[in-house]
Symmetry: D2
């Protein structure tokens, strides 16, 4: 029996994550070429353009027009799944209408990731969690398939996780949930990210001369992804320290995570917990005591996890790596789509 | 006899070249700490600030306030030499008044480098070369001390050369002026520059993710520095090809230059011409047939020149390197100041 | 009718080109997983190992054992096509036996690329072009499908081109063969390459600290790839200048090529010649007057070509970019395999 | 009264730290140009050479011959201070003889930094701490002037600290010594270093292609510098976690340090402790709550320290930066020389 391919659309295909997503969708075997929307009323007067104008790397294989977004166009084309690679304010404003129109959404922004209003406050949403919005916030599913596979399968709105959060939650969830971690002593998460995580808009912070030959810490004790980590790992605010750093590389994240164990454990104990937890998760690779490096997972959808245990058996360092545009954004969005439509989780990602 | 130190001022100390210049001037043994001016009516409401706010690297050794520019402040402080590290339109507008007030100027922009009106056209000056401006344009001296040492010594306005132009003119002047080059066959200049040459303002072109892991050619047949090269080397438009490229490094220029010789020459012949021409020039190093690399001259005021001759003795490749912020901008400005005041050319540059 | 998949083997899978090739072959839809051979008597005592030990990035999807090379193993497994990603001396020594055994070969080294004994001299082969070797040298086909598609289809030995040579020949062949270039005035080829082109063995030249923040020219007038360019473009020694440079990036080549035209031509003329020549070549993209950059073709098999014409209509600058490990090595080898077996040229390369 | 300049010698001037040291010594106003020794019986047959052959960047200002080391040459030239930029085994073997001959030593290796035999074990010295060696080990002074200024002044052997150790001890010493840190809860030190810290010898780990676009953790729970930190901060083994990482930059270290405070403190409290501790230390800059970045201290002898306090007032993150070749090696060695001879600590370092 022929199954007709899924119809999808992407808003924000010219950003780094949106472009990566578009490339993945164009190669996915079970969907039609996605419709590419720019947001209406963009800065330039003639928002309609060709994606290859912004990204010559995809030229040579056909045309990829960007059209101004409208709900009418969406309806006319029969779009069933909408990917939002948009600022969180836009995602916040658009998702209610998408749901009303019966379109499922995978949102790559931070708009719908948080349940706790205090955590949400860092985004300063203008809607002040009004009725309908509150309902969506409650029903949106946090799109980490390794944790929420079943709920994602039937979700209307999937909140695709933050890149830092993915690297840290993936590393910690097996250990925290198996109750071997002494969370009272605090978990330190020291993360380092490539520059594409900061977005495509040119700023003083992303100027080549400021980033090259440099490393800088930022948003210590105040990064927006912290709330996701706390909620997903069910930790208290003062139990997790998160310090992000800006690396002089285009893409990739490495998180070094420091954990006290409640009682002495062997390396085999730790490896067993990790392997057990992810036995059905094709996109997490357990490296054991050989530590993963950023380049191992670049341009893949893997999150790689390795670790070392101190001689005392009670101090554990976990290293977790991923590509912030793949498992940290676009790859994970495709993985979520696969789960939502009941396809193999690896479809279109190899 | 005590000589009182020279009083100088810098406009534009927060740009890359202006900051490098400020650091050099602060260590120069014969001058007072320079006055640092920001341009009036800058974007932010309170233009007065501390240089260390923009460049924490100079903190810890005192205070370097930036004040809004005014001619009155300049007069009150008795400034004798004004460095302009400003956009060329600003330099164009301000130099006439500086001269009227008897202040000598070293201008780091392209405003006063060109004699030929056709070459000047690329800058599109609004003044349309009015009377006084024309006079200044004629009397301004091109600030390459290796070529114009004597005229610089008595100049009122020194037009500090472009970074690319310095690397190419330094390599070619000895050979072109000794008439061994077959200029009719064309001279190819393929230059590669670090990103600081593009300035500090964040743009799509200087975003880390666009520059890293990349190389791009730009402004082929149309770069503004071409006029300087043609005028200083006395070449016709079609005798010199200049193609700049943007390197994924913060600073440094390497120019690879391809020259046909009129008749076969040995490597020793070439080396003799180069060494003879620069025998009294401490800031040009002749590497002979060992080719210089960008890192050899980084953070120095040297222009390094090496070369290879083909077996046929008639084809010559010259490689020239310099630090675009030093010999290509701020270092050369200090060298020019040294020449203007009759000091040793190396003063304050080691 | 089921066609049984092609059986291939790779020698040298742990080098940069060999590993890239292995990854491509593992995903190719028409072949069996390739046998991976290390060369016998390698330095370490136990040469048998797992490819993932050297390249953790491919772990997680099965096992890729490396076995010591033997002709017996090759025969036992029924290998029909042997890829040699080996030093040129090894390729030189092994190809005669492969041919005797009826195995076709794609050789990624420089061993079989040159017809002219003078050009070949730079490799200093010990065999001194003995009888059988001479025969192979004459019959080996230069593996640039865009030039020699038909001969490759029936070749026993395909000499996969050098990375620099591919970038320069692809740019120049259409223009030189259409006789619009004034070759007497000389063609200047200024190429810049990422470090993977220098191979995986650690040397002083590939140490991170020597390469980073740097650019260096090397082998000016003496690079081994020059012979390939001269032979394929049918130029005299003194008609082509080739200067390679080492870029501080892992991969990618950009060549800037300077050409005198015999008579004035328009941009459209040039574009027509390029598009006409490559109308049936899916792996060459003509960018027109928008110049390609290195990152546009990274991780693809494209060679991108763009150009600018001077106002005089007689001076042409061509910019050509490719990924040295893809179109410059492994991708081109797969493209050659596709041609040899009559498959679509793009098979396994998208 | 004229003071005759100090006579010094450097062994190991061709390594990264040794070369940086040589450049500093050549500009130091109170010493003669240092004698440069290579170690005898080096790999190459003719060890005598010119430093500019290895480092063309210092050419153009005179000759810097490297001579084979001998005690006789040292005595003949009247050397009073010997800098050893040598492997720790060499430093271990040579220092006893230097002391016997009355020559003071600043050793840049790890040979004499540790008092605790268990910590020393990681170096695996062949001498097994024999009598004379034990005595030296006890009397050698750890060369962090900010902690041991007085003892360094009269020391015969100064053990120049490790680069990582300097960054971490400088950040922690004020807080640990003022007893505000809850050391029982563990101190996490996550450090990131440029590649020059790994030395000049080419290895698989320092190959450009392995380092670029990458980040990797290494020697977690097992790095040699850990012993220095524990001894200088008087901590127990399990109270300090140290994880170094290799950054894709040539030089610079950033350490992010996580500390639990015994009771809530304000940012002002922390700043007061840091400023008080370093009030007489010109080479430590306290940034307050603005975090230092690696580029701020590059090419300087500063160690920069900034910090952030969590809202709960009990969790403190300190960020410490330095140039591993300057404050982390050669600059600190010159600072130690200044202290040993009673000169201003900044002499020759600005």
């Amino acid at each position: 029996m022929m199954v007709s391919p899924l119809k999808t659309a992407v808003v924000g295909a010219t950003g780094y994550a949106g472009f990566e997503l578009t490339r993945l969708l164009l190669k996915h075997p079970r969907i039609s070429p996605p419709l590419l929307f720019s947001r209406q009323n963009d800065d330039d007067d003639d928002p309609m353009q060709e994606l290859a104008a912004a990204y010559p790397e995809i030229s040579g294989n056909g045309s990829y027009p960007l059209r101004p977004f409208s709900w009418e166009a969406l309806a006319r084309e029969g779009i069933e799944l909408l990917f939002l690679a948009t600022p969180h304010e836009v995602s916040r404003a658009w998702v209610p209408e998408a749901l009303q129109r019966g379109v499922r959404v995978i949102d790559l922004s931070g708009a719908w990731r948080l349940r706790n209003k205090l955590h949400r406050a860092v985004y300063g949403f203008a809607d002040a969690d009004s009725g309908i919005v509150s309902g969506i916030a409650e029903s949106a599913i946090y799109g980490l398939p390794e944790l929420h596979r079943e709920q994602i399968a039937s979700a209307q709105v999937v909140a695709n996780p933050g890149c830092y959060a993915t690297s840290i939650i993936t590393a910690l969830a097996p250990l925290v949930s198996s109750a071997v971690v002494d969370v009272q002593r605090g978990i330190v998460c020291d993360s380092k990210s490539g520059v594409s995580g900061a977005g495509k808009r040119p700023t003083a912070q992303t100027h080549f001369v400021e980033v090259a030959d440099n490393l800088s810490a930022y948003s210590v004790f105040g990064h927006r992804h912290t709330g996701e980590m706390l909620e997903q790992l069910q930790l208290q605010d003062d139990q997790l320290w998160f310090s992000p750093h800006l690396l002089p590389i285009p893409r990739g994240i490495l998180s070094t995570i420091y954990v006290h164990l409640k009682k002495p454990m062997t390396e085999q104990d730790i490896e067993d917990i990790l392997r057990g937890f992810y036995s059905n998760s094709p996109w997490v690779r357990i490296f054991g005591t050989r530590l993963p490096q950023i380049r191992h997972s670049l341009h893949t959808n893997y999150c790689d996890v390795g670790f070392n245990v101190a001689n005392d058996g009670q101090r554990l360092v976990i290293v977790s790596c991923l590509d912030n545009l793949m498992k940290g954004a676009a790859g994970q969005a495709v993985q979520n789509m696969n789960v939502m439509w009941g396809w193999n989780e690896c479809e279109g990602l190899n």
